[in-house]
Amino acid sequence: MAKVVLRDLTKRFKEVIAVNNINLEIKEAEFLVLVGPSGCGKTTALRMIAGLEEASSGEIYIGDRVVNDVSPKDRDIAMVFQNYALYPHMTVYDNMSFGLRLKRLPANRPWPLNTRRAFTRHEIDQRVQSAAQLLGLGGLLNRKPKELSGGQRQRVALGRAIVREPKVFLMDEPLSNLDAKLRVQTRAELIKLHRRLGITTVYVTHDQVEAMTMGDRIAVMSSGLVQQVDTPLNLYNHPANIFVAGFIGSPAMNFVNVSIDQDNGKYIACADGFQVTLPASQYDHLPNYAGKQCIFGIRPEDIYDSNLEGLIKQGDGNSVKVDVDVVEPLGNDVEMYLKAGNVPLIAMIDSKTRARTGDTLDVLLDMDKSHLFDKDTEVAIY
């Protein structure tokens, strides 16, 4: 186990900056998820930790050691690839033991002086068997990868990483090639495995559900920058900027361009056909924004039907009159596409609602869970 620290890490591919000066500290035994849309630099960051890409500038620490110039095999890491990268012509056993069989002592002597194997055949066998047992691969050790299902291949890829007993696991979208059901199942297994082995893990995904369910902490990346690093709930409740707010949560947060007006000591957010009173608890942040344009954010699940008994009572300016555009029943909830004047909103409303397409409806917003963002910097005001 070791911590991983990225300091001012940058990667340039000719003119393109894939990773832009990121700083990140991954604690010992932590499960950190790097999440972001494709092309945000998350995989490049991971590959730099693995040593498969060279950093253009900045430092990578694994433990207390700077590993920028250490070759991948000597970094004490193991990586699980998106397409598993199993050796097709080798059996499961050989796939898992390949790295152990190659390891020589002492590792720092060049070939051909490094003749002593690091592991005896017996040790290798023990490690492979115990990893196979842990992953339920016991009966498959003599099969070739092509004779395995997707889920089994995925487990072999994990097994290959586990037998090396690395200090850090690096996983590059390891679940994206599995079907939906298997993905959920494997997700839970990975979490259990991490708890059991306690190995520092950096996990790359573009799937925010995966990120929310698996990560001890999540680093949200966009255009080469780390936008926010925090626990899943903090990311959800207190997004640092519009990108994080829109990326975390499904369906995405509603954003409304509003102007902030001051009236009788209250702050009111107004748009065409949309008017709400901002929560008094946040007034400390607002004086500078009076009379200015801002972006108001509210999550679909924080919008309620006023005709239903709900947690949210009609209160101080939290009611909005909307037209119902589309109703999509999902079972437990109903996803509604609404229009308040010209402002489109998406709401997740309890399925008891009677509202139908074409109706006019009063919805209540849970203003304590609303967000406000600076229009220029896109940074959260509260």
């Binding site: 693995a50 095999k73 690839f81 050796y87 012509h89």
Partner: protein, 311 residues
Amino acid sequence: MAAPFSKLTKGLKIAFLTAYLVTVVFPMIWVLYTSAKNTQEIYRSPFGLPKFITSPSRRHIKSLITNYRKAWVDSHFGRYFFNSIYVVGVSLALILLLGCMAAYVLARFEFWGRNAIYLLFLCGLLIPMQLVLIPLFFQFTDMGNWLTNLFAPPVRALGLGELTISLQNSHAGLILIYVSASLPFTVFVLTAFFRTLPGELREAAMLDGASEYRTFFSIMMPLGKPGIVTTAIFNFLGLWNEYLFALVFLTSDRLKTLPLGIASLSMQAQYRSDFGLLFAGLVISMLPVLLVYIVLQEKLTKGITIGALKG
């Protein structure tokens, strides 16, 4: 209406394919059984079955054995055969080893000048070998002299005798030509093939602690097998039947390869007309090719389709 029509086309198809099969296979079988006849028999009925089949008797079996003994021993086909095996075998080993390495690097590594090197190989495909025959002949003379001047003095100094290196009239020289002439095609096919292998494998091996050589020999070569087999077969067929360069560069009889042997037999046949012997020689040179086809035909078609779809 559709059924009888499709039956008709199917019948036509079968008829056509059968005719094609007969035209291709019959000459081969003809050569095979004619090799058991003696010259008189061949003159009497060129397409008739040999007596050794129609009326098996010790005398006629003897004429079969005589043909092959004469070919193998008296006409030195045994020696030519092993010369061919040696030259083609060593050439193939070198072609595949060097070709694989070059193709793998061109397909998987990024470095300055990569495309230029690849194009250089492709240029090799465009040059007709007959065109370079004469210049090559003179170049080999010069190279032989140059190598002799380079290595003879130290060898003499060590007291190991007089050394003369000649690339003409030597198997080494012929192998050199075969290897360089076959590399462009081999590299071209294998580069396309190695590009289809997932690049993550190399990275996975790197993380597993494999050196580039280990990755190449333990992972990429085994995975490249279909492509390697295909190029091996094509090169084998080409080199086994190669005549022109062998004719120009091999002059002494003890070095000759099978195509030269057959040629000299057929030339002798103009005067001596021992056709049974000629056919026996043909069978000897044909057999390895047939064997390769029969054993590897499945892999060959597989390799060709792989090239077609992914190359």
